[in-house]
């Protein structure tokens, strides 16, 4: 429907520059397709060249399509279309040890992803060295709220584990209890389906009277996974990610988040079909592997920014954490209560506590426990197989796992 815009009719090299700008945005992670570039060029024929502000608004209308991309777009626009000292900035990127502090006061903060997109061949900034004393292999039962930023490298999935993940999903069926939706499907009993009945009658010349019927279609409840990836949970991180990835590809609506000292949504990254690529992209996106825990704050962030978008009243929330929280737990209790009230079911899976002889001694555990609808203490889950067994068992409401 769109006419191919005549590139020549835009002033100077504007069309080329819009194209380059779109490529920069694409590298920085905005989903800008060629159709969007065409749209932008067509839009610039109609207006947006009068002032810088209009130009920015025009490009934003064409290139941005979700709220959280606005900031990245603004930064990219600022750098690409204005900065007269582009060369100086490139030099600064070449020599990362020379820190310049005389940035313009109103310059927006630069995004590292964006820097990578603008200057792809520059060496990356030196990653902050992890503090030496934090390098410990087994950190279970220790916790802190210090923020330690760490990247993580996971082993790839073995074929055996891959089969296991598939098998697990079958066993998990009972855990996702079907909820009736307001959509319907043809069925032998239920409400009359006039459209289908009359179509059938029309085909038979009005002679046959056979009532077609429909009934509400059932769909598994949407699931939201909130997984703790702090130091004390580090031995489970890899398994949990593969678990969530398998769930995301099983015709279920799954939103997943990981948290340590910050909350990271990982649903988009996990959309990759290949489990290894997906988990690797999560590993890249998450900054706080195996650091401290800020449970209350993570729940607060989730409640404030995500709960309304992903819960919708009917979701089951699977909270995977050891519940070890530092300091004051009143805020934790408050946030847990709010979370419990805004979902249909809050399930807490605690991989660090054994059921027999379990006493809720830790303050964080005591604060969480009254608000969860179901508590699954699962000692030492090391494989998907075991996790599935625990969850499926819980789906059958306390009965021993069927296996």
């Amino acid at each position: 429907m769109l006419r191919a815009p005549e590139v020549d009719s835009l002033p100077g090299r504007l069309a080329d520059n819009v194209l380059h700008f779109a490529r920069v945005l694409r590298h920085a992670g905005l989903p800008v397709g060629t159709d969007r570039v065409q749209l932008a060029l067509a839009a610039l024929h109609h207006g947006g060249l009068e002032s810088r502000r209009d130009f920015r608004a025009t490009l934003a209308a064409c290139f941005v399509d979700r709220g959280e991309h606005r900031e990245l777009f603004d930064q990219a626009f600022y750098i690409f279309w204005k900065d007269p000292d582009l060369e100086g900035r490139m030099r600064a990127l070449l020599l990362p040890q020379v820190k310049t502090h005389e940035k313009a006061a109103n310059a927006p903060p630069e995004n590292r992803r964006l820097a990578g997109a603008l200057f792809p061949h520059m060496p990356p900034h030196a990653a902050p060295e992890p503090p030496r004393e934090q390098v410990e292999v087994q950190a279970a039962f220790t916790f802190s709220d210090r923020e330690i930023l760490r990247q993580k490298d996971f082993e790839t999935l073995s074929s055996e584990e891959w089969r296991e993940a598939k098998a697990m999903l079958l066993r998990l069926r009972p855990f996702f209890e079907p909820l009736a939706t307001r959509r319907t499907e043809p069925a032998p009993h239920g409400r009359p389906d006039w459209r289908a009945s009359l179509a059938a009658m029309g085909r038979h010349g009005g002679e046959l009277w056979e009532m077609r019927r429909r009934r509400p279609r059932a769909r598994p409840a949407p699931l939201v996974v909130l997984a703790d990836i702090s130091g004390s949970m580090s031995s489970y991180s890899r398994m949990l990610l593969h678990f969530v990835h398998a769930l995301s590809h099983a015709d279920l609506r799954v939103h997943s988040f990981v948290f340590g000292t910050r909350l990271t949504p990982i649903s988009r990254a996990l959309r990759q079909r290949d489990p290894d690529i997906a988990v690797a992209s999560v590993a890249r996106a998450v900054q706080d592997w195996s650091g401290g825990t800020r449970l209350a704050q993570s729940l607060h962030l989730f409640n404030r920014h995500w709960a309304r978008r992903v819960l919708g009243g009917r979701a089951t929330v699977l909270l995977i954490t050891d519940g070890l929280e530092h300091g004051d737990t009143t805020q934790l209790a408050f946030e847990a209560e709010r979370l419990a009230k805004s979902c249909r079911q809050l399930v807490w899976l605690n991989p660090l506590l054994r059921f027999d002889g379990f006493e809720p001694r830790a303050a964080g555990v005591r604060a969480l426990l009254p608000h969860v609808h179901r508590f699954l203490p699962a000692h030492n889950i090391a494989s998907l197989e075991q996790l599935a067994r625990v969850l499926a068992g819980a789906g059958e409401r306390g009965s021993p796992p069927f296996h």
Binding site: L2, R53, A61, R70, M201
Partner: protein, 307 residues
């Protein structure tokens, strides 16, 4: 040029929207202008109460076109949104055909002809018999479920609806489509890709004052300034649900009804329910906190100059 033509430029768009008591940001006006020019649907996201639905109403009034509104809800399907067959009349037709002895073939084609079609919002909007293309408002798309979005794709890109028994209905002139979402969930990329996107933000202080002057013309300027400054301050707090422009207007009307000439902590405490809808938020602002905020706000108002 008649008054209902499409705007000629971005400045013209701003001027005419303001003429209809809608004070847009420059960015919104640009997006609206482009959507009209490029005949693309306009996709508006933002906090509740920031004027997303209002823009569709204003556009309809500004361009002299009828407004067709489709309110989305979970389970909304074809028969609710686009068209339905008139089953009662079809039954009657079958009975008549039986009595008259019409042929089977004729009946089968006749039963699903235009006579028996009930037009709902989407089909009305693209009806080629409309004298002028209407403004179609698809409100709160995030409330509908995902399967409904897939159905919208045909309407949004080609402005047509395919009815299996009947054929394809295509608009003679594309309607002006406005989609809004409160972002209780993410809308699929395929829908967004067909639209021009704009995030409707809370207005800044000057623009909110202008909005208030247009919407509640009776409010004294001194009171308006205090109200807007107070609400702008509230939006900087860590509240669960921030008050939108709709709340600003409501609150101003409430205060006028109470004959309040200036804000004081007592009046604020009594009318806080108009602004904040969560108990936690109200508890956070009530009492001494309201007085403290009010003092800060007075300083801002003094900076605005004499009333």
């Amino acid at each position: 040029m008649s008054t209902t033509d499409l705007p000629a430029s971005i400045d013209d768009t701003v001027a005419r929207l303001v003429g209809h008591d809608y004070v847009p940001s420059r960015e919104l006006a640009t997006t609206v202008f482009l959507a009209l020019r490029l005949q693309r649907p306009l996709f508006l996201e933002g906090e509740p109460g920031t004027g997303k639905t209002e823009i569709a109403r204003t556009l309809a009034a500004m361009l002299g076109r009828p407004l067709i509104r489709l309110q989305c809800y979970e389970g909304l399907d074809l028969s609710g949104a686009a068209y339905e067959w008139n089953y009662a009349r079809q039954m009657l037709e079958i009975r008549l055909a039986e009595a008259g002895g019409a042929s089977r073939q004729a009946l089968a084609t006749e039963l699903f002809s235009e006579r028996f079609l009930i037009r709902r919002a989407l089909l009305q909007a693209i009806d080629p018999q409309q004298p002028v293309a209407p403004v179609l408002l698809i409100d709160e798309l995030d409330r509908a479920d995902e399967p409904f979005e897939a159905f919208l794709l045909e309407v949004l890109s080609d402005f047509q609806i395919t009815i299996p028994e009947f054929g394809t209905v295509k608009a003679a002139e594309p309607p002006i489509v406005v989609l809004t979402s409160n972002r209780t969930r993410e809308i699929h990329d395929a829908v967004k890709r067909r639209c021009l996107y704009h995030w409707v933000d809370f207005p800044d202080l000057q623009r909110e004052l202008a909005i208030l002057a247009h919407r509640v013309p009776g409010a004294p300027r001194a009171l308006s300034q205090e109200i807007v400054a107070f609400i702008q301050r509230l939006r900087q707090l860590d509240l669960y649900k921030l008050p939108g422009v709709a709340e600003t207007i409501e609150w101003t009307r409430a205060l006028l009804a109470l004959d309040a000439m200036v804000l004081d902590p007592e009046v604020i405490s009594h009318t806080l329910g108009v602004l904040l809808k969560y108990q936690d938020d109200i508890a956070k602002v009530q009492g001494s906190e309201a007085a403290r905020l009010l003092n800060e706000v007075r300083d801002t108002v003094r900076g605005l100059g004499p009333a």
